[in-house]
Assembly symmetry: C2
Homo-oligomer: 437 residues x 2
Amino acid sequence: MFTKFKQHLDQHFPEVSHQLVLIAVSGGLDSMVLANLFKEAGYTFAIAHCNFKLRANESDADEQFVVQWAQRHHIPIHVKKFDTKQYATSHKLNTQLAARELRYKWFSSLVQEHSYSAVLTAHHADDALETFLINLSRGTGLDGLTGIPEKNGAIVRPLLPFSRLELKSYAEENKLEWREDSSNATINYLRNRIRHTIVPNLKMMHPEFLHNFLRTQTYLRQNASLVASVIEKSKEELFEKDGNVITISIPELRKLHPFELYVHELFHPYGFSAPSVLDLLSSMSGKQLFSDAFRLLKDREKLILKSRDFSEVSQVLWDNGIDAITLTNWALTMETVMGKGETSSNCIYLDKETLKFPLLIRKWEKGDYFYPTGMQGKKKLSKFFKDEKRTLFEKEQQWLLCSGKDIVWVIGLRADRRFLASTTSSSVCMIKAQSLS
Amino acid sequence: MFTKFKQHLDQHFPEVSHQLVLIAVSGGLDSMVLANLFKEAGYTFAIAHCNFKLRANESDADEQFVVQWAQRHHIPIHVKKFDTKQYATSHKLNTQLAARELRYKWFSSLVQEHSYSAVLTAHHADDALETFLINLSRGTGLDGLTGIPEKNGAIVRPLLPFSRLELKSYAEENKLEWREDSSNATINYLRNRIRHTIVPNLKMMHPEFLHNFLRTQTYLRQNASLVASVIEKSKEELFEKDGNVITISIPELRKLHPFELYVHELFHPYGFSAPSVLDLLSSMSGKQLFSDAFRLLKDREKLILKSRDFSEVSQVLWDNGIDAITLTNWALTMETVMGKGETSSNCIYLDKETLKFPLLIRKWEKGDYFYPTGMQGKKKLSKFFKDEKRTLFEKEQQWLLCSGKDIVWVIGLRADRRFLASTTSSSVCMIKAQSLS
């Protein structure tokens, strides 16, 4: 593997052999192999280790392990501790995305400060294949299938053409030490199942499966790059900016083909799904859509896109396929799951086939009623609030998740019985609400 | 399933409920389900059955089965027998492609003659997923991942949103009869392995895996359509036609981005791979490439593309990734395989790592020698031909497969020992030669 690695490096990234680079080392198999390959090649490098403090003592033991390895081999090392959970909460990110953001921000500052010519990470071909399959299982566009490039700005991934097996063999032959991440077995449950049940069978389909797969991803990336540049050009022509307001001519938009693709690519960055925009286009003038940060108004033959002012929002549409939505004081997530779990005030399991998408999230209206869980019959919302000893102000601040005219969930408080999943529901979606106030 | 099918049909193909359509029925599970669903819906339709005569008595029994079903239910039926093997040979196609061509040509003539409004085939979601995985395993571009659309001209595939399991359940609940195709177990070995070992595990990754997969394919198709229209436009600008000769400005070609994608899309239809064209672009003026039907000449700052005149050809380049190549009197195919088999005069197994691509196919030159299998040491080609009692004319007509300056194979006659795969070869390619004379 060392010879093949060195050849690959010399051919594709000749600069790293005589420049100072930074290698991201977690202490796991992949990054320890990368660091050892560099050591064996005699190249100059430094190490960066992130301690995300997500696994208590184990995270600290990882740090200690990497620091000792660096000291033993006289390799300069940077270590930083992050309060990942706190960052995730304050930035409304899941833990994985938070860790990712923190990591790359720090790498970027290290590159600036110490003039490293590149940051090397240990992603390999099996990582790329696993990500491809996960995205495929969830449904994705071209971008979700293109994977991570070998070089992206200062980030270089020199192990991408190698399989996990090759890395493991190298580690064993050279008697390397590494740390097993206990979360591999739990957090990455899905990834592990792919690794052990699907990938080995895929590889048996063709002797060069992984190689062919990486080649396919390269082609897909080229296609994605072409699509992106075409979309960017049409956006420049179509989106007329005036201060914070963008105006789009609907007749001009309709000339684009394939229409759905353009609608997706043009409005997705602002948080609007293609089906909801298509729906808006066939609606009456005056209707509007809201995303986290923007609103899109149909005004006769124009679409008007502007930053959203939360104080005036009273209605939000939530379309199937949009994973998360943020209201003034709540973060909601929707996920299709294998079966129903326990419904609580902050988490409900719905029978997807009873729902009419897009769902509507709105405030209380006069005459609102629902069929509360834990009670018989229906109840007026004003009566429900009184019985629950809530104020009028609280009722007015309360968000309601609705399917058509029916209330599905008094968000964070009580679900309606009619839409809850049963054990025979063929399609179940879980909606979680996290309070932001 | 019937209700869901009828809803899907009414929503996406409302015209089929009151028009006369043609259903392609092989007699297998899928097409028998489609025909029975139509019967249950009370729609008017006729049946077309192709007898490809590929499985002797079994093919005739299939035909009889479908004819009897149609007669029993008073459904008009068209039956046609094809000499598929003969067609495959005369059109230089593999059997599967030949059957496909024959089938769609016949359907098209039936539509013309009898004014059917559409031809319906029974492809379902699992078919689409299996094809996707096969193409992925071989390495593919965007087109190989987009799959078959629900509607393509007159062809409609109304079962595409349904899984094989749904079809099977419907067939069992309604006590349908169908014929099992014995070649499913043999010809489609790979497809069967995918069906039983890979697909069930993929479906366990997500409760809506198949649905999400079909949605992804729809997106990919939209992307492919956008890419195709962009490429077509640049082709119109770049390819200057004068009679049978097309001239392409190299500086203009080089302005395109992503360059490799454009090169692939522009020249692949003429049988030239992107790597070989990139190689040509960096070669001296005067060098040329040959494909089955075209030649591409670098002439200073231009590429000249024209139909190929076989009589003058003496050299052909065969690049890695090109599956098949046709010479004046031989059809050659190259395939990467799991391990070596028995080398014969018409089929050789090579150690891919010993080869220098593109391979060169050329005629005899003075001084040519090789290391024939079954002999010791090297031998002059003229001596070899004399010993084998071949004429001078035969020697001059003989094609030689070469890696750089070395002869790899005296095509259809004798292999060279140096390039043959051994049991330890990590990458083996099988090259087959079929005589066309």
